[in-house]
Amino acid sequence: MAKPDELANPLREGIRLRRTPEPCAMAIFGASGDLTERKLVPALYYLTRERLLPAGFSVIGCSRTPYTHEQFREKMRHAVTEHLRLPGDESEAFVGSFGKGVFYISDNFGDAAAYDQLKALLDQLDQERGTGGNRLFYLSTPPSFFPVIVQHLGATGLAKPKLLGETWTRIIIEKPFGRDLASARDLNRVVTSVFAEEQVYRIDHYLGKETVQNLLVFRFANGIFEPFWNRRYIDHVQLAVAEDLGVENRGSYYEEAGLLRDMIQNHVLQLLSLVAMEPPATFEATAVRDEKAKVLRSVRPIPLDRVNEFAVRGQYSEGWVGGQKVPAYRAEPKVSPASTTETFAALKLYIDNWRWADVPFYLRSGKRLPKRVSEISIQFRGVPHLLFRGAGAEGIEPNVLSLRIQPNEGITLKFCAKLPGTTMQIRPVQMEFRYGDSFGAVPPTAYETLLLDCMLGDATLFNRDDAAELSWELMEPVLERWKQDDSTGLAFYEAGTWGPAEADAFIERDQRHWMRL
């Protein structure tokens, strides 16, 4: 057998060539769903077109809808042209070429014969399109199917690499990864009984966003920030993920999930761990994920009987968003008129370690807020002694470093400056860096980044089993208490506002206020 360095491709040497994965095929379970059409296939199309995927790369859609290869191909061609990232990117040459690598298998996810058929098609693609025996499975079905699919993949022998040591097999699991700690543990148990942990990529598309990745660069590639990144200089941290949309047509899902499960348990806690983590030993998956898990382990658990001190929940009522009148959550399709599901949540967490002791982290997320914006704000402590008295001091505000994740990704630092003139008047000013202005280039979408990372075997931006369970563990008391309280404590806010008044009171109790987003 050839040694690995004998198989290295000498044409790949050189820093300027981009990383491209080995030849492979990808099977998407739940391929007739919205995610495949809106995100996954357009991402794969761009990666192919931009020469980032290997020649012969093939996609197999697996779903219950009975399509032929050609029908599914046509649907995906339509998806590509409908969901272009950049206008004018469709070209028959590219779309047609991409379409040649698209296949379909009708599968109700519980039928062993369909997995045999999938195995045969994958083998055929290895022969015909040179996909090299490398396989990526993507679970984009409703979560209840995850265990069934995983077990069938195991039973058919598809979970193991085709040639041990020479080919790879990986699986991406979409969120939600469980609906509470017990179900997350159960799912982990099933998944890891079939796949080795290093084969498993739990996806949270938030981690594929450029600004989220830039957070690591910002913290660990700049010497000037790290010395201030601790309890000595930071007063508190706010993490906000606001959406102007309601639940759209996901009423029945949302009734089961609620905002805490949908946003805080995954996206917001991921952001928290990146903001608060210690510098990893290397920028490799294990080291980065170790540090992220350490943060979650250090978060002070919220006692069941004190949940209301640390969390607020709300639900939107009728209101106006973007000039349009929108219904109350309880009037949305497939939502109970007496629903107590939260569409807004605010939490205060403490991280009990040397770096962050006593620094509150305020987490806030909601639906039907005035605009779609995600931002991390680090508010620094005030100066130890105020020199400027009287009128001059009125304009003094604390320094705030804001990392905008979406939209208009960028970084802003607010500091005080003297207004020109003979009197001492002070006003806050902002120093601003915007990705779009500074680099011009349109960054890849989160799914493009994450799919490529997975094919390259880089799990840095994916969630590990321990982190998935730890984040559920932190949410357990809140979920339990809110379930017990039912409608007691559920505050209402008018759609198009920044959440219930109770949320303002929640942070004002600490003599702080929410950042204006």
Partner: protein, 383 residues
Amino acid sequence: MQKTQTLALGEPRPVNLAALEAELSALWRSAAEDPSARDVVTRACALTLLAYVESEEEGRQASNLIRLVTEQNPCRAIVIIAEPHAAPAGLTASLSAHCHLAAMGGKQVCCEQITLRARGEAVENLDNVVLPLTVSGLPVHLWWRASRFAPPAYVDQILRVADHLIVDSTRFANPETDLRDLATWLQGSSRPLAVTDLNWARITPWRELLAQCFDSSERRPYLDRLTEVRIEYEQESARLVTQRAQSLLLAGWLASRLGWVFLEQSAPAESGLHRFLFRSGERPVRVESVARRFEGGGSGVCFSIELKADNSSPAVFSLTRGPDGRVVQTHAEVLGLAPVGRAVRLEVLEEVEILNEELMLASRDRIYEETLNMVARLTGSNN
């Protein structure tokens, strides 16, 4: 798209360094105080870009490109127009500013440009003028935009403080000679310097696509079985020199990466044909580079490269860009495997797009340096 405006600030006048700096300060002060200005003016500078040209017309072209460069790479630009054979001798300078509104409105970001015109023997003093004008603490990039690569002594002095030399072998009148001269100069350079050839950057996607052909473990062994490489480019187009230089760089890259030993260049058997003979172990390898007519061609974007393995296990790998200029068809045929082909995007990039990227990524490129050395060997055999 940002809207960029260039403001000329006064007529060219004899160089007086102290006065130049004072004028620059006055320029920014007046811009900040202008009550009619709708937006705040912000001066931005991340690097010094020195552009070296040899005529007034090339100076204008460079200025137009710098205007676009400043949108992504805010800098102090110094355009050096050196005309050693022009009269009367003298050195003059003029100032201008490139301003653009940041996307989403708001601040007007401006960068300054100093244009130096040196005629006759005054060119000998250029280094003394240019060096004090570089911005302290920021990287210095020298963009060599002349038709030959032959830096005179005063440019050598500038290169001693530069971090990055940018050339474009497209602009070389005779790429065979100038690439060789560049290789020789680089070997003799006393300090490590990042060197970028914009034409090398143009072929990066081609190299990437060729590398992809051999990524799978089934196809990787064919790299050690290659016996023929044929590169074809358009005979009749304004981009003939660009493509000729590209074909040389591709041949040099393949040979250097695959450890081929250069034997000889056989005399051109037909118009535009270059044939290089190599040895890889016991196996002979022939590389041909030929200019020919392409159907629908003429714009200089058609290009193809084909790699063949020996008869014992025949295989063909090819990349072809047609007159459309955006689409490259890839094709791979290996004995025992079904042929695989696809279409990928590979647009012809404008000079300014590549320049902007190279300014951001400036670093030494060992692969380019080894390629250049191989090109020097290939082209040296002619002389």
